[in-house]
Symmetry: C2
Subunit: 253 residues, 2 copies
Amino acid sequence: MPQTASAPSGKPPTPRERARERTINDIVRLGREHLVLHGAAALSLRAVARDLGVVSSAVYRYVENREELLTLLLIDAYNELGDEVDAAVAALPEADHAGRFNALGSAVRRWALHEPARYGLLFGSPVPGYRAPTERTTGPGTRVIHALMSLLDGAYRAGRLVAPGGQAAVVPPLAADLERIRRDMGLAVPDILLARGALVWTSLFGAVSFEVFGQYGADTFAAPDELFAHHLAVLAGLAGLSASAPQDGGPAE
Amino acid sequence: MPQTASAPSGKPPTPRERARERTINDIVRLGREHLVLHGAAALSLRAVARDLGVVSSAVYRYVENREELLTLLLIDAYNELGDEVDAAVAALPEADHAGRFNALGSAVRRWALHEPARYGLLFGSPVPGYRAPTERTTGPGTRVIHALMSLLDGAYRAGRLVAPGGQAAVVPPLAADLERIRRDMGLAVPDILLARGALVWTSLFGAVSFEVFGQYGADTFAAPDELFAHHLAVLAGLAGLSASAPQDGGPAE
DNA sequence: AGGAGTCAAGAGCATTGCTCACATTTGTTG
DNA sequence: CAACAAATGTGAGCAATGCTCTTGACTCCT
């Protein structure tokens, strides 16, 4: 059984632990390469072992099984996507809510198109027989929705998120869910805008998935960039963001 | 090599051809069962052969390889989804555009939740190394978008699809794509509504995929039915459908 | 120095997709 | 009806895969 991977108990790492960590990193790196080259289901521990210059059974010292490696790659990919999104959002001033929304969506799409296999691992059909251990993946896996929601929340607190008129209130069971989410994430947006944020979230990934997975026909859209930009603009409006640039004062707090 | 599967040349089928077709149907049926039980990537020709009561190599007389069986299952699933959607839409009067839209979306979700593995085969990450032969799958694979678009087109021709106000026109490259689509599908809706229809399309499947693939957290939404109903209502408005009374226009600029 | 902990190697098992040579069934035709 | 040819089924076999187990070696700490 692989050892306790890392319980940072304060003690300085022994050379052995460092070597072990280095090997695990190598395995993840090689696994990532195989992933982008041959896809998730074709990920082979034996092939990784070959590239590592070691016999197949040796990798089981570091990685419990194929699922464990998939989990490591899942976390790795979630974090890379989260980093990209965070960087793209942070590159724009905090008051430019619409710009930041656009940057977030574009970053997701850019990363997905650049890493289709890893995107598929995150947002495609689940690998059969593989259940991601939520206690390890929810953290990295929720970075994008957290970024999106805090973005929308910031816009709301700045008075730049306009609730749509004529929209019926959400039904009580859904309101209960939304209330819990609002509390857990420390948000201020009201139910209707929160629900719309969730819809925008799923819609963003729906559009990206259709493009990455080739769900549009092969030659349906010759201008996918423009299509996505248009979708993103409509989604910004759907979320309640006013499309025009924020010329007024800075952040509220 | 599997024979010419079926070139309906008018001649009555010989008993042998009928037996052959029956065997292929059995293979597809067994494959479907394995698909729903163990997922797409775990689909095994040998297991199907075992269930068929025949030695493994015998199935290659009927199915060229594993990919071929996947293609058959793909077409099978596309058609079943298409049938469900068509039936749900046809159950409501043609003039009830909003109701039909709701029925379409609900039918997609219902089928997806009932057949998660097959839904994943259709709309999840592509099976690695497998390229669906477009000449055989585009027909069944476009039934839902055709149903959606003709529904929206009917509403537009009936004057029940209101273009949102304050929406900028689409850029020329995208307009060219939309024009071609409009021509190919014989539609009348203008660019803005057509683009919104595409967004509604991807958003619908985005919401369904999130739910089926467990992309929402495990216990994020205790009321998924209400969440989806809410999303569907918002998407209907986004498409331009007036729910009962004409909704307010787009956000003021 | 010695023992506990760690690691790599290689054999082995069950599984898969797929091919091939051979046997058997089946329908047609001389 | 008998012979032939096409269609179908059989079983062995190859190259992979994930994973386990035993064996030996190596490292580090007391």
